[in-house]
Symmetry: C2
Subunit: 293 residues, 2 copies
């Protein structure tokens, strides 16, 4: 049996599905969905992320706009740019790539994005709607995890789930989603974090573990039970002179020892990562549907 939850393959399938929908929309006389991305400054990793998002838009027939702003931009000027996107009838959704320069208040920027165009799902109104089981944009990483589990027909109903990490963008939202009274949900969720004392009491009991800690190789085979389902959200660069780039991407999970015991497991890379971009596209498609409704 193949134990791999293949995010790469699944994300390609989702992109194909989106492409078919976009072609249909266009044949019906609608303009294509349009995602904009604001990138402030010259950070290399941020540029790579944003470029990947833009390329993915192209693959599925979306229009995309990359708005590059100088590191020195003032908070007020950035807020003005966001306001333009909020009211633009040609843009369905947009993201502001983090991190922002230190002189800019992340929270203020986040709150200035119209909740209707917040395809990253980071605005508190979207977060609250998600938690209260209302229609909303779900943040890309947790959304990608849900999609992956759903497409592998993984039944969470009544299962014991452990979330490692309580970040606003992964741990907290996925903990809520997997506990909600919904199809991919209804599990008993424990959130463990830096202050947790009996980590293994929880991980050894878990049917499903989602790790979003950012510590390479943290979760080892002797910390989990046979048959566990593993979702590894960690993506940490670890020095590796055998690689052309000089580093390898490592997940939170010590893959070899955990693989032996797992019934399903996401690889890193090729697991949750590709699903995240697919989810951003799904959110943009959803925003577009609202705008043409």
């Amino acid at each position: 049996m193949n134990k791999i939850l293949d995010g790469k393959k699944t994300s390609l399938r989702i992109k194909e599905e989106i492409k078919i929908k976009v072609d249909k929309l266009i044949s019906e006389g609608h303009r294509p969905p349009h995602l904009a991305a604001i990138l402030v400054g010259e950070d290399g990793a941020s540029l790579t992320y944003v470029t990947n998002k833009v390329l993915s838009c192209k693959q599925v027939g979306f229009k995309s706009s990359l708005i590059r702003l100088p590191e020195s931009i003032s908070e007020d000027e950035l807020l003005k740019e966001i306001k333009k996107l909020n009211v633009s009838e040609e843009i369905d959704g947009f993201i502001v790539q983090l991190p922002l320069p230190n002189h800019i208040d992340d929270e203020k920027v986040l709150l200035s994005i119209s909740a209707d165009k917040d395809v990253d799902g980071f605005h508190p109104e979207n977060f609250g709607r998600m938690a209260l089981n209302m229609e909303s944009f779900i943040p890309a990483t947790p959304f990608g995890i849900i999609e992956l589990l759903e497409r592998y027909n993984i039944d969470l109903n009544g299962k014991d789930t452990v979330i490692i990490g309580r970040s606003n963008i992964v741990g907290r939202p996925i903990s809520i989603l997997l506990s909600r009274k919904t199809k991919i949900g209804n599990s008993t969720v424990t959130v463990v974090h830096s202050r947790t004392k009996k980590l293994e009491f929880y991980t050894k009991n878990a049917d499903i573990i989602v790790s979003a800690l950012g510590v390479p190789g943290f979760l080892k085979g002797d910390m989990v039970k046979d048959g566990v389902i593993i979702v590894d959200v960690g993506i940490t660069r670890v020095k590796d002179s055998s690689k052309k780039k000089g580093y390898a991407i490592k997940g939170d999970v010590d893959f070899d020892s955990v693989y032996e015991k797992a019934s399903y497991i996401t690889p890193v890379p090729g697991g949750v990562g590709p699903m995240t971009i697919a989810s951003l596209l799904l959110n943009t498609l959803k925003a577009h549907k609202k705008s043409i409704a």
Copy 2:
């Protein structure tokens, strides 16, 4: 040692503190904080709840307005009333007493309340802000629980917490609050619910249990460990011919058997209930501060 977490006494102390602040505000030339409550229809229990809230306002020197609307009011008319309160400069915060008649969409009503005046903390924007650790109105019941734990100097840091129930107004928000990286938080939280299979695995390990299930006497002494801290949010009317009213109020906890093992426990009535109204007053005071800032 007295094991009782006395919500009645604590709420009285909070009201005294609020009264002092209100007197000071007025002596400084400000108008008093003003809470409005909308009550639709003639439901007896709802009228009792709202009346208690209005009375509490009086005790602390707040102005209050009770707006009674007929059962037959249309959704549109109700939304118009809410709009008036949203823009009124004389009202700091308001609540719409639930439940609403069947022909009115609760969610639509909830979303129409300005997040700045949503002293019940039910609007998704407030919920999201709470979850993301931003400044917000916290729903009254979970806020009351936090206040009670704080005033008894209960340290949750690194403790194992179990929340029984995942409702939008108690279980879900308190599960987030007690897990956040904050003073009254930082515990390892598990949310158990109707689909949970190994309930006692969690309750027997718990240092703190918050029960918000609504099943009288559900949690028994043999389901908890020695030294557990118990917060009982259940308030169910149970027939009792020995009482003048014909019923008694019962919590989720089988008090006598759990009391033996607990290090702290909230009684029902006189525990979480009175704290809830005190929290509504604290939220209104906070809204007033914003309006005069």
